[in-house]
């Protein structure tokens, strides 16, 4: 069935001449609106990054190259039909777990954590798990009753918990929480009862206490600093204070591109990575920030639309999870930079300088595109 549909599709494309851009887009299994939104975000991001990195064009080119690689990854993934992805999901998940264990035993240490694995290229296996965990959860629920039964939920909980704990031990608390969230989002979208959601929510309280004991000192410090950054203005609270000054001093329309004193006079730490949102706020003001947030909302909205339109359980749950995890990234980063939540090392997606996470994100959007473009040809 799978082979047949693919052949059909390819034949159809071969016969149809490339008359328009949309024809090309369709042929590449790309979703036009989603790609448009993503490209706008990336372009805006490069613009901000140029200023945030001290008008360093080398760094800008570096980021553009990474973006290009990420877009290629997205295109490649978009060509993989959802059924193919689903079949390979358990292998990807198990492979990811093996890599995570390898990281813990043989990984490279950087900045006090063991996160990288060097097999020809240096990469973080936890990045792969960002997609593998929601895929695995969706795979598990694909053939099962929706909403899931309690027994199934226990199995899913274990599937989520194993990589979460492994990543938390690196230690990389931020990523492990995001990965757990991407799995939990799948369960919620699968329709578990609200009683259970709130029940589990209530369990979070003792869970948080256990988590507190697992936290490293620097993580505890981040939480404490959030509640009162002024207690340690030159230490742990410095980032939050300076980023609030940057954003607040931007006002409605900002100080203008490359004119942000907080960023350019080096008051703002991590300004081209995790705190780039503050540079945006300082230089483009509330207006510029809203533009970016609207673009993000559009991308998330389009992702949810694709999820609703999807034709099978796996696709639906996966598309929903990818879209909403993207929202979690956006929210966690912006809320952290504006001082709403503790500082966790989560970059602003598609805007912060950095490589691996961008490829993962774009690969995720490639899955969305694949789900959307392959849907009509699936028999019902």
């Amino acid at each position: 069935m799978m082979r047949l549909s693919e052949t059909q599709r390819m034949l159809a494309h071969k016969t149809a001449p490339l008359r328009s851009f949309s024809g090309l887009v369709r042929r590449l299994n790309v979703d036009g609106p989603l790609l448009g939104g993503l490209l706008l975000i990336c372009a805006f991001g490069l613009f901000v990054l140029y200023s945030a990195a001290g008008e360093n064009s080398r760094l800008l080119i570096n980021q553009a190259v990474r973006l290009g690689i990420a877009l290629v990854a997205m295109l490649v993934v978009a060509q993989l039909p959802p059924d193919f992805l689903r079949r390979w999901t358990p292998w990807a998940y198990v492979g990811g777990l093996v890599l995570l264990i390898l990281v813990l035993t043989k990984g490279d240490v950087g900045q006090g954590a063991r996160r990288w694995l060097d097999i020809g290229v240096r990469f973080q296996p936890s990045e792969a798990m960002k997609l593998a965990v929601p895929m695995m959860t969706a795979w598990f629920l694909h053939d099962r009753q929706i909403p899931p039964k309690l027994g199934h939920l226990v199995v899913i909980a274990v599937l989520i918990a194993i990589p979460t704990v492994l990543i938390a031990k690196q230690p990389d608390l931020g990523t492990s929480l995001l990965i757990a969230a991407s799995g939990i989002i799948v369960i919620i979208l699968a329709g578990i009862s609200f009683k259970l959601i709130f029940g589990l929510g209530a369990l979070c309280v003792p869970g948080a206490l256990v988590l507190w004991n697992f936290m490293q000192d620097y993580q505890k410090q981040r939480v404490l600093t959030l509640f009162n950054p002024d207690t340690d203005p030159l230490g742990a609270g410095y980032n939050i204070i300076q980023s609030k000054i940057a954003i607040g001093s931007g006002g409605l329309f900002g100080k203008g591109w490359t004119n942000g004193s907080q960023a350019h006079l080096e008051f703002l730490p991590e300004r081209h990575t995790d705190f780039i949102f503050a540079v945006l706020g300082e230089e483009f003001g509330l207006f510029g920030v809203l533009v970016l947030l609207v673009l993000y909302m559009f991308v998330i909205g389009r992702g949810l639309y694709i999820a609703v339109e999807a034709h099978d359980t796996f696709s639906r749950l996966l598309a929903g999870s990818i879209s909403l995890t993207f929202l979690v990234y956006v929210f966690v980063n912006t809320a952290m930079v504006t001082g709403l939540i503790p500082v966790v090392g989560v970059p602003l997606p598609l805007v912060s300088f950095g490589g691996t996470s961008m490829v993962t994100l774009m690969a995720g959007f490639g899955i969305l595109m694949s789900i959307h473009s392959h849907r009509k040809l699936l028999p019902h």
Partner: protein, 632 residues
């Protein structure tokens, strides 16, 4: 269980999912709305507050050090000034290989190899963009030499700075003192606001005691900087306009000293580098005309900075050039106290003007065979008080010491200012010591030593034993004698001048009271005897006094460094130089109208009248206008 999987109801499942997707959208909008609300709070409502804070982040206040006040002599000639000098500076962050750079600088003799570890530590400790000083003053030759080689030394350059300069070098090293680089103790002690930007502070002498006046107040200017304190170019004019105004530093006050460069130089030269001190003052005011301690050193070494080996050489020299003998050196005053004790003896009735002693060269207490020797082994023969002073007969004073008693000695010498600080306006003078029964009781532990012995009174009568005085105290006492008891606080600073307005605050002479002697006739006799020391037929210093074109009064003294065993002959030639007696001399002139009082001590000089008196006379000659141009 999966085997029993029921047939999935895709439509129901999709409906359920759409419900959840709508819920997720609502949650998404709520979360992003939360962020937006926060942004509105920060960027709209609190905008002004944060705008102000970001402005404050860009401006750093930098201190501008004040210009240190100048020091002049009594005729307005410069003793301490500030000269622009080029100093060699290194900016750590601009130096690729620090060790290599320092080694190459040492190779062309710009720095000392010994100092490389110190500079390495210095450049690694501070902020990397802040320059460290390698050498404080470059000679023209060094500047020229370095200028051609500069391309080889990235990060090293010479910079103009104001450096304290003492044009007379060693001449005023002890009187005016010197400035030196701030050390950790100074930093703790000094007001950080006033000393922001200051590199040196007064360490000794006037430079130290009047630091408060000389230093001035730091000003400040505003710099636009980044978070690491690095100055950035002010490219936004809007920012420059909004800067608070800078405050100019307030320069330190100029000091006009009572010292006279010419008198100081004569005293300095007359000491010929021997270990000794000269203090000359105006007895009518207490103004110090010369304050010399030799051997001396070049105070510029401290202002400019010297190598560790140079410093240890100064510090460890057995001649102790860093030691200010004039106010810190305490010596047995010897016979120089005899005029004061004579007044005390006359006033208390321990002797009278007609009483005579037969001096046979030594004195013995009853029931004790210890011989208290006279300096003249064959004795002076029959002497009255006048002779005893003029010829410095010890036996006369030994004999009356019993009637006078240690407590009266203590009482009168104290009235002349011995045994306590003179109150000079430089810090750290020693009080010396005038012993008494009470002092002995309080300062000795075991019972035998707590007692005052009669023999101790005997040697105290010729200024030996426990008694100690500084040259400054002796000069002050000589002035008091000259003034027939009127005492003035010795001081070095005559006026403090505001360098901007030129206004001077004059330091008035401070009268400290009179040494009251009821009978004016006693003064005539004692001072007359001092006159005859210099100009009488048998005066001890007649060789010096007879050549003077003016009348002068004086008293020589010789202080034992070691005690001579009984029956042992004192043979000057055979004694080690450092074991010889100290030579002392106090004097004033002109006799009828005293204008200058001088105290001289030459350590191990052997003879007060032979070695110390000519120095005093040279100083007086210069001050009274009979100076020999050759002494220049």
């Amino acid at each position: 269980m999966s085997l029993l999987s029921p047939i999935k109801d895709h439509h129901a499942e999709r409906r359920l999912f759409i419900g959840r997707a709508i819920l997720a959208s609502v949650v998404s909008i709520f979360l992003l709305g939360l962020v937006i609300a926060r942004l509105v709070q920060l960027q709209v409502f609190d905008h002004e507050l944060f705008a102000k804070k970001s402005q404050g982040n860009r401006v750093r206040i930098e201190a501008v050090p004040p210009i240190r006040g100048l020091v002049f002599d009594r005729k307005g000639r410069v003793i301490a000034e500030n000269l622009p000098a080029y100093q060699l500076e290194l900016i750590p962050e601009q130096v690729a290989d620090l060790d290599d750079t320092l080694r190459r600088l040492a190779a062309i003799n710009l720095i000392n190899v010994d100092d490389i570890p110190r500079f390495t530590a210095l450049s690694q400790s501070g902020q990397q963009f802040k320059p460290i000083t390698l050498k404080f003053r470059l000679t023209d030759e060094e500047i020229a030499n370095f200028a051609i080689q500069r391309p080889r030394f990235a990060g090293v350059d010479f910079q103009p700075r104001l450096v304290r300069h003492y044009p007379h070098g060693a001449l005023f090293a002890h009187a005016a003192g010197y400035v030196g680089a701030l050390n950790t103790n100074d930093v703790k002690r000094l007001d950080p606001a006033r000393y922001a930007g200051t590199s040196h502070t007064g360490k000794t002498g006037v430079e130290n005691s009047f630091e408060d006046k000389l230093h001035g107040d730091a000003g400040f200017r505003h710099l636009i900087t980044n978070a690491r304190g690095r100055q950035v170019p002010a490219n936004t004019s809007e920012l420059l306009e909004s800067l608070p105004t800078d405050e100019r530093p307030a320069p330190g006050a100029n000091l006009h000293l009572t010292l006279d460069i010419d008198v100081q130089r004569v005293a300095f030269n007359a000491l010929e580098g021997r270990r000794g001190a000269v203090v000359a003052l105006d007895p009518t005011t207490g103004e110090i005309l010369a304050l010399v301690s030799t051997p001396s050193f070049d105070p510029n070494l401290f202002a400019v900075g010297m190598s560790t080996s140079q410093y240890s050489e100064l510090r460890d020299s057995p001649d102790r050039p860093l030691f200010n003998r004039a106010v810190l050196g305490t010596y047995p005053p010897g016979s120089t106290i005899k005029p004061m004790l004579s007044l005390a003896a006359l006033e208390t009735g321990a002797t009278n003007l007609t009483r005579k002693s037969i001096c046979i060269g030594y004195f013995q207490l009853e029931g004790d065979d210890h011989r208290y020797r006279d300096w003249k082994p064959e004795g002076h023969g029959p002497v009255d008080l006048h002779d005893a002073i003029a010829q410095s007969c010890d036996v006369y004073f030994y004999e009356i010491s019993g009637d006078l008693g240690i407590d009266n000695m203590h009482e009168y010498l104290t009235r002349f200012g011995l045994g306590s600080q003179t109150g000079i306006d430089v810090l750290g003078e020693r009080p010396g010591l005038v012993p008494s029964r009470e002092w002995k009781r309080n300062n000795f532990r075991d019972r035998d030593n707590k007692r005052w012995y009669h023999g101790e009174t005997v040697i105290a009568s010729i200024g030996q034993g426990f008694m100690l005085a500084t040259p400054l105290q002796l000069a002050s006492a000589a002035g008091t004698l000259a003034m027939r008891g009127a005492r003035y606080r010795p001081h070095l600073v005559a006026a403090i001048e505001d360098p901007l307005s030129g206004q001077r605050e004059l330091i008035e002479p401070e009268w400290l009271g009179d040494v009251a002697i009821a009978n004016e006739f006693y003064w005539d006799n004692v001072l007359g005897a001092m006159h005859d020391v210099m100009q009488g037929p048998r005066g001890t210093a007649r060789a010096v006094g007879s050549g003077a074109p003016y009348q002068m009064a004086g008293k020589s003294g010789t202080a034992q460094v070691i005690s001579i065993a009984q029956d042992e002959e004192y043979d000057e030639d055979e004694l080690e130089e450092r074991l010889r007696d100290h030579a002392l001399f106090i004097s004033y002139a002109p006799f009828e109208d005293p204008r200058i009082a001088v105290a001289v001590i030459v350590e191990n000089g052997s003879s007060g009248s032979g070695v110390a008196a000519p120095i005093a006379k040279a100083v007086m000659d210069e001050y009274l206008g009979y100076g020999d141009d050759a002494t220049q």
